[in-house]
Symmetry: C2
Subunit: 338 residues, 2 copies
């Protein structure tokens, strides 16, 4: 690693989106007088009679939840997408719009009101992975669904409106911006090299070692060279797969184990229930051939210095480009050590 | 306006970035149980002896501020960019990085510790505009500076670390992502139509009227058709100019007046000192010809429902695409009415 990358301001290329990130390693010394978040220390209770997601309680729409034992999946009562929206086309001079149809679902990870992924047994995380696989396959097979986004917003600071551990799926007709970008870069690479961009990338990262957080037979967890969020991480399968549907039993377990390891390290980092948004990026489900796609899961956690001081992606970051202070290598070293 | 755009989920095209935004008008009925921000009601004092930005006080680096009467500009003591960074090139397999040099400055808008733009006299806002012009020209003329980003983070919720009203300028060697996108779309349009994209766009918006917030001889303030943030707005000069340097005295005053009107409406919306990030997008300063560029100022305010409930751009928005609930037309109507 060139010492400039450790000390001097520079920009790094995200090879999956084609966009650059500004890195300012010297800026870690900046004193902080800004907003202090409340660190969410709450009592860990297994069941909350006021919770819309706990077993047997009524949901927002009044329907009772079943007395579920593992995961629970249901349609979001206030989804941003509706299944029956007509796919109209609207053009008026410089104004362009299109109807968008889709389905929004909620997945409770466990009946336990306080059991987050880092504290779940690997066997129970495997059930979450299986639920993701089933939902992806079922939704992806629908004729009008061309992309399935699986994600989790964890913590109030990440806009999560209910502390009961849950994730979401938004499945839709159009192919979202981020996926378009990643399809282009992966296609270009595959055409030239006949291997997936991420296969080659994890080979290189494993041989260098400095950004690897953990690894097992089927997965690598690392801080990408182009990480934006302070402790951003990616879990990447070693075998190239366009989507999670083809994960076999061993891979499911290996994935669950990496999920647990990474999120445990996160909780240990600032000694708090670590907030993040996580998401799985996979090939579109429109029936085209996506031999270049290599699915992966990313974690975008906002905390920078402590449980109460986060990185703000504001002014410069909104108007110009992404910016970070600690280097990806510093973040990886810290996470590995925990 | 087709009634689908008022009621059904759809996506809209941002003609300046080429990216789509998901709009979910039906979702405004969603109940909110998530994070409640503290609304910043603080005493309005003219001078705070603890403030690094008030006249005559010492800054973080120990240097005393002058007893300034209008604006004050100084180099950020903890800038993300440094002027003397070598422009190295780093490539190792799939890893690409480049040295980035630049200058970060802070601009205090007024010596008064509590005087935000909406409460300033138009004459004093004109002095801020003049400061922006001078800084843009001076920085843009430097050989190694190819882009100058002027912006303000207002409010603790927007990562602002000092309540004394101030903005920032980050001037840098490379051309940031957002500017690259806007250069491409404007160039393509100009080649075909020999007029700037935004000239044509404001003509259309003025003839429709529903998204206009206010207007004077030289400027239009509107909610763009593709707005992402709930009450996002743009101030656009009617005369095409690549950057703010060529604003004349009348235009400076008209600009200052629109700045005051928009921010006053913002403060009135939820009866609070309205937080936002604002920024001016202009042509790069690398000496190339940017005849297609039409500078504009945008406001990205996070509040959604009240002074304490904001829109979270999290999971889906980070992994897939931008998403909003109220329509741009609802937002414009509300702001116009205030
Ligand atoms: O320079 P400040 O005001 O301390 O910092 C603020 O604005 C910067 C530019 O948008 C961001 O990088 C920081 O995360 C934010 O806290
Ligand atoms: O659906 P939820 O959890 O209530 O809502 C949360 O996640 C959504 C998807 O990322 C965002 O659009 C919302 O702003 C956020 O509050």
């Amino acid at each position: 690693m060139k010492s400039e990358l450790e000390n001097a301001p520079h920009r790094r290329l995200n090879i999956l989106t084609g966009e650059w990130i500004l890195v300012s390693p010297h800026r870690t010394k900046r004193p902080w007088q800004g907003k202090i978040e409340s660190s969410e220390k709450r009592e860990k209770i297994n069941y909350d009679s006021e919770c819309f997601l706990c077993p047997t309680n009524a949901r927002m729409n009044g329907e009772p939840n079943p007395n579920y034992k593992n995961t629970l999946v249901f349609k979001n009562d206030f989804g941003a997408l509706l299944n029956d929206t007509p796919l109209f086309n609207y053009t008026d001079g410089l104004l362009h719009a299109e109807g968008e149809s889709g389905i929004c679902k909620v997945i409770c990870f466990s009946p336990n009101h306080s059991l987050t992924i880092p504290d779940m047994e690997v066997n129970d995380i495997i059930k979450v992975v299986e639920t993701w696989q089933n939902e992806f396959t079922e939704l992806g097979n629908l004729k009008h669904i061309n992309y399935v986004q699986i994600f989790e917003n964890k913590g109030a600071i990440m806009g999560c409106s209910n502390p009961h551990p849950h994730g979401q799926i938004w499945a839709q007709h159009s192919i979202p911006t981020e996926i378009e970008k990643k399809t282009t870069t992966q296609k270009n690479f595959y055409k030239k090299e006949s291997t997936s961009l991420l296969s080659k990338y994890i080979d290189q990262e494993l041989s260098i070692g400095t950004r690897i957080i953990s690894e097992n037979k089927s997965f690598v967890t690392l801080v990408p060279f182009w990480a934006v969020w302070p402790y951003e991480a990616m879990i990447i399968p070693k075998r190239q797969m366009a989507n999670i549907a083809s994960l076999n039993a061993t891979e499911r377990e290996d994935f669950a184990q990496q999920l647990k390891t990474l999120t445990q390290k996160y909780d240990a980092l600032f000694n708090c229930s670590f907030p993040y948004s996580s998401g799985i990026h996979q090939a579109p489900t429109n029936g085209d051939n996506y031999e270049e796609w290599h699915w992966h899961m990313s974690f975008y956690p906002p905390l920078l210095r402590s449980a109460t001081v986060k990185k703000f992606m504001v002014g410069y970051e909104m108007f110009a480009m992404a910016q970070r202070d600690i280097t990806p290598e510093m973040a990886a070293e810290k996470l590995k050590s925990l």
